[in-house]
């Protein structure tokens, strides 16, 4: 018996013992009707070939291991960024269980969200009663200052009208007439979680700026000197928003972060559960209409929101999840230009430190090939940083990226000699990526936790940057934006490069002649 009270064996050791190995071998042989091992091996090899890749890329209907989630996840992410706000998702309740689990697994934090729990009768008669009862219950139980409503695909397919439903619910007394219930239709069969982010943040702004669904006068913009900031759907929201606030503080810029969920996704363990923490106040959300300009850190998370804001008379500026020197330069210079404030020496020094770090380390990255996948903006930001490092972002793939995005990535490639042999893959999934890693191998893969299976399958070392990251802890607490964020990304990449070299030179008297302890 392998188990032992003194040294308790975990699953990864327990089952390797002969008792279990024999048992599993018998199970397979006797009862599983297994495939011929030679046949498994043959198919395994075939699935690595260019021929397989061609068939794989010819897929028209099947999606395998996509790198995207659905709209309501983005809406929930937005809602918790407002003060004392609870996300309310109208539709099936299982969806909400999934969003909450997904966010909790990434941030290692509670994720509060309610559902209108629609079932078969609601499918037939519509979900109005669910909305009426649901708003009343949520309002009484969780005492939110605002309830932000979005939808699951069920409610969208049957055509529930949020505007009318919320109005009726208010008439029935579920919540007070003047109570804030912004909403966004977020069909899961359109776009992805970044689209949901876009719709939801636009929904909140529209609510406050354009007369609260016809219940209040529209706000008249009285321009001030403030800058609005929108982060977009971002797994590093905790570290990034704090870094952005620090930068604004250093520059002396008056700002409003719209959808600031950096506190609620990083609450202390001190004996108290904070269902709500931090967040953009409702007053700030309303007053954001007066700002001079709005900066979006992620263009593809704000495709509808920015034009909406621009129509209210503000300047809008969009970035693509800037990572590294050039991206941060452009970000800071845009803030300086809009605000009229100078970039302080302290930030110039931070820039110099990042350039210094790159100068120290770039020899280890130069010429290395990377495959990147993730959300469209993150891919652009990372690819741009790799080009700065003299690395080649050989494959850049976004399941939720479109042709417009691909053109933008291509333009980025064209701007650098290191981009000449790089390719962009819009709308593809991680099974496509698998073929790419076999047929056109790279040195490293950058992606979220699901890249673990690509790493195991293809042997390409994975650098975890993206969302979700479930199987490594606390990455979300560090910024990847700003020069300091760039430093974090650089260190993350370097650590993996050095670890990989060390792993490959570890066999005594065979490969360990590369003994270097100094690099």
């Amino acid at each position: 018996m392998p188990q032992n009270a003194d040294n308790v064996l975990d699953h990864f050791e327990l089952f390797r013992g002969p008792e279990y190995q024999q048992m599993l071998a018998n199970k397979k042989k006797m009862f599983e009707n297994p495939r011929d091992p030679a046949e498994v091996e043959r198919i395994r090899e075939w699935a690595k070939t260019p021929e397989y890749k061609e068939k794989n890329f010819a897929r028209e209907a099947l999606t395998v291991n996509p790198a995207k989630a659905c709209q309501p996840l983005g809406a929930v992410f937005v809602a918790v960024g407002f003060e004392h706000t609870i996300p309310f998702v109208h539709g099936s309740q299982g969806c909400v269980a999934y969003y909450r689990s997904h966010l909790s697994r990434h941030f290692k934090e509670p994720s509060s969200c309610v559902s209108s729990s629609m079932t078969e009768d609601a499918a037939v008669f519509g979900g109005l009663n669910n909305m009426i009862d649901g708003l009343a219950n949520t309002y009484n139980m969780y005492k939110p200052k605002m309830i932000a409503v979005s939808t699951t695909c069920m409610a969208e397919v049957i055509g529930d009208d949020l505007n009318a439903f919320i109005k009726t619910a208010k008439e029935k007394g579920s919540v007070p007439q003047e109570y804030d219930v912004p909403f966004a239709h977020t069909p899961a069969f359109v776009g992805s979680h970044v689209t949901g982010y876009d719709n939801a943040i636009k929904g909140v702004l529209e609510h406050f700026w354009d007369g609260k669904a016809g219940t209040a006068p529209k706000l008249v913009r009285e321009p001030n000197e403030k800058i609005n900031f929108i982060g977009g759907f971002d797994g590093y929201t905790v570290g990034n928003l704090r870094e952005v606030k620090r930068i604004f503080g250093l520059m002396g810029v008056d700002y409003t972060i719209l959808g600031d969920n950096s506190e609620v996704f990083d609450t202390p363990t001190d004996g108290e559960f904070r269902m709500y923490d931090g967040g953009t106040t409702l007053e700030e959300a309303a007053n954001a209409v007066h700002a001079k300009a709005t900066i979006s850190m992620q263009e593809y998370c704000t495709e509808k929101t920015l034009p909406f804001i621009a129509n209210h008379g503000q300047e809008v500026v969009a970035f693509n999840h800037p990572v590294g020197v050039k991206g941060t330069d452009e970000f800071l210079m845009a803030i300086a230009r809009i605000s009229g404030k100078e970039i302080p020496e302290e930030l110039a020094k931070e820039r110099g430190r990042l350039v210094d770090a790159i100068a120290d380390s770039n020899a280890h990255i130069h010429g290395k090939k990377f495959a990147i996948y993730g959300d469209p903006d993150l891919c652009l930001g990372l690819a741009s940083f790799l080009l700065e490092l003299g690395a080649e972002p050989t494959h850049v793939l976004a399941t939720n990226g479109n042709q417009k995005w691909a053109d933008k990535v291509q333009k980025l490639f064209d701007s650098s000699p290191f981009g000449q042999n790089c390719n962009v893959y819009p709308g593809r999934d991680l099974w496509h990526m698998r073929s790419l890693l076999f047929t056109e191998p790279v040195d490293f893969l950058i992606g979220n936790t699901y890249g673990k299976y690509l790493e195991r399958d293809t042997g390409t070392p994975l650098i975890r940057i993206g969302f979700p990251v479930f199987d490594r802890h606390h990455h979300h607490r560090r910024p990847v934006w700003g020069y300091q964020g760039g430093m974090n990304v650089l260190i993350t990449i370097l650590d993996k490069i050095f670890d990989t070299i060390d792993q490959n030179t570890i066999v005594p008297a065979k490969t360990d002649y590369s003994f270097d302890i100094i690099r």
């Binding site: 395998v64 299982g94 689990s101 559902s115 729990s117 009862d133 099974w431």
Partner: protein, 501 residues
């Protein structure tokens, strides 16, 4: 914790009743009336726990429940390793459930096994408008081309499928015919069906009956020589290897396990099962349906068992052995004796550290009762328990075999209720799921996930109990819980106490 807690059963009952009355105050009247039926204080001698169950969740209350799709794809079908399970509809459901359940398996992923992959039809607006049947048919063709060693396909319906009137049965039948009788199983587990995961289990069970069992050729020779000791493990999902640390005990006592449902399971094993002499059933809630069907149709008896903790394991091994001859009965005794020293050592090591500690549970359809014995083996006491998706027969089993007088019972608990209950009862440990974990840890309450074993396990069987005991100890006795209050924020006496420890 456990400061100034009531001591006698009468006091506990009074406190718990008061607590229920208090939480109900937060609700609007109609909701309070409905929720009241799901909360109770257990009275010993009663045949059930006195709560209503398997009823629709109330909108807006923050239920912890999932949906029928989660019950079918996530629980019953997903672990069948050599089949490809299509999450049919928009991308989200498959994405959020992708590899999130720890159904361990052995196989070459992507070639002959597919558990940790996410196959989806990724519905777009045009699929909603024009229907997804053609796309589904094409998906099956593409699967056949790119994954030629798959042994079957299931279609796990997401909400839109039933709403737009797609005929996934027709597509499945046609494609099965086209591919020489290949097993293709349409499952109508749209998330809006039923009130929780539970109906998804039932629908998935029925799909096994209709699309696997009913297609079996009775004249086909069995793939193995039958033996009088053939059993099938039903309702073990092999979380962290649970089914393996269970199977080994059954085999050591002389039985032969011809199938595992569904953790590390295969289509062949599903097909083997009608040849079992006995079905041994761990998760009653999710697989009693197919067990009853096999009893009726094939005359196979079934027997519930519980492999959490040495007391229940020994009881269960003897119960299973009672269906067989003396050879097996002796085998059961031999297995119990073999592991007794390990169990003694585990209890000697951990019981002194856990004795008298209290636990509150809130899990799915089995564990809120099944794990109670394991805690008791460690000298711990379960003071509150409830189910996400139990039916009344689960509460009967709970009342008759597991919980103590005065235990707080909460069915389909809401986030608000659970938080308040824990705040007042002050247990030493809460066992629930990922959505609850961080809520209670923030409150300074030790926590273990009891769906995923908090990424540990196995917890089943004797080998698993050692891990279970260690994990409960590391949760409760972690130094971190003494640091939650900043020293300058503690009452002077309290700080002194901690310093003296």
């Amino acid at each position: 914790m456990s400061l100034a807690q009531p001591q006698s059963v009468a006091e506990i009952k009074a406190r718990n009743k008061e607590l229920i009355a208090e939480v109900l105050k937060v609700y609007p009247e109609k909701t309070a009336k409905r929720r009241a039926k799901h909360l109770n204080v257990h009275e010993s001698g009663k045949s059930d726990c006195g709560v209503k169950s398997n009823i629709k969740s109330i909108p807006g209350v923050m239920t912890i429940r999932g949906c029928a799709y989660a019950g079918s794809k996530g629980v019953v079908w997903g672990p069948i390793k050599d089949m490809i399970h299509i999450s049919h509809g928009p991308v989200g459901c498959g994405q959020y459930s992708w590899a999130a359940r720890r159904n361990y398996y052995i196989g070459t992923t992507g070639i002959d096994t597919f558990v940790t992959m996410q196959f989806t039809s990724d519905f777009q607006e045009k699929d909603i408008v024009f229907g997804g049947d053609k796309k589904l048919a094409k998906i099956m063709d593409e699967i056949q081309e790119l994954f030629p060693l798959n042994n079957g396909i299931t279609v796990q319906s997401e909400c839109p499928i039933g709403l737009i009137g797609d005929d996934i049965e027709a597509v499945s039948k046609a494609k099965s015919k086209e591919y020489d009788g290949k097993t293709i199983v349409p499952v109508r587990c749209e998330g809006f069906r039923g009130v929780s995961q539970s109906l998804g289990h039932h629908i998935a069970n029925d799909a096994v009956r209709d699309w696997v069992f009913d297609k079996l050729d009775p004249n086909k020779a069995p793939p193995f020589e039958p033996s009088p000791y053939d059993v099938a493990i039903i309702g073990d999902y092999n979380i962290g290897g649970d089914a393996w640390s269970s199977r080994i005990l059954l085999e050591e006592m002389g039985l032969r396990v011809i199938a595992q449902w569904s953790g590390d399971g295969s289509l062949a094993e599903l097909e083997n099962t009608p040849r079992a002499k006995l079905n041994v059933l761990h998760c009653y809630r999710s697989m009693n349906y197919i067990s009853r069907h096999m009893e009726e149709k094939f005359g196979i008896p079934w027997c519930e068992y519980n492999f959490f903790g040495p007391s229940k394991i020994a009881e269960s091994l003897r119960k299973i052995a009672a269906y067989f001859d003396d050879k097996i009965k002796e085998g059961a005794e031999r297995v119990i004796a073999k592991y007794a020293p390990l169990m003694d050592a585990v209890i000697a090591k951990y019981r002194p550290r856990l004795e008298g500690k209290t636990v509150m549970l809130y899990v799915g359809g089995l564990r809120p009762r099944h794990v109670i014995g394991a805690y008791e083996d460690l000298g711990m006491e379960v003071v509150g328990t409830g189910y996400e998706f139990a039916h009344n027969d689960d509460y009967q089993r709970t009342a008759q075999h597991y919980v103590k007088d005065g235990t707080l019972i909460y069915d389909d608990v809401t986030g608000y209720e659970f938080e308040k209950f824990v705040e007042k009862v002050q247990p030493d440990l809460v066992g629930s799921g990922i959505k609850e974990k961080y809520v209670f840890q923030k409150m300074g309450v030790p926590f273990r996930q009891m769906h995923s074993w908090d990424y540990s396990g196995p917890y089943h069987g004797y080998d698993g109990f050692a891990i279970f005991a260690r994990d409960m100890d590391m949760a409760i006795n972690s130094p971190v819980w003494k640091m939650t209050k900043a020293p300058w924020k503690q009452a002077p006496g309290q700080a002194g106490l901690l310093a003296a420890e």
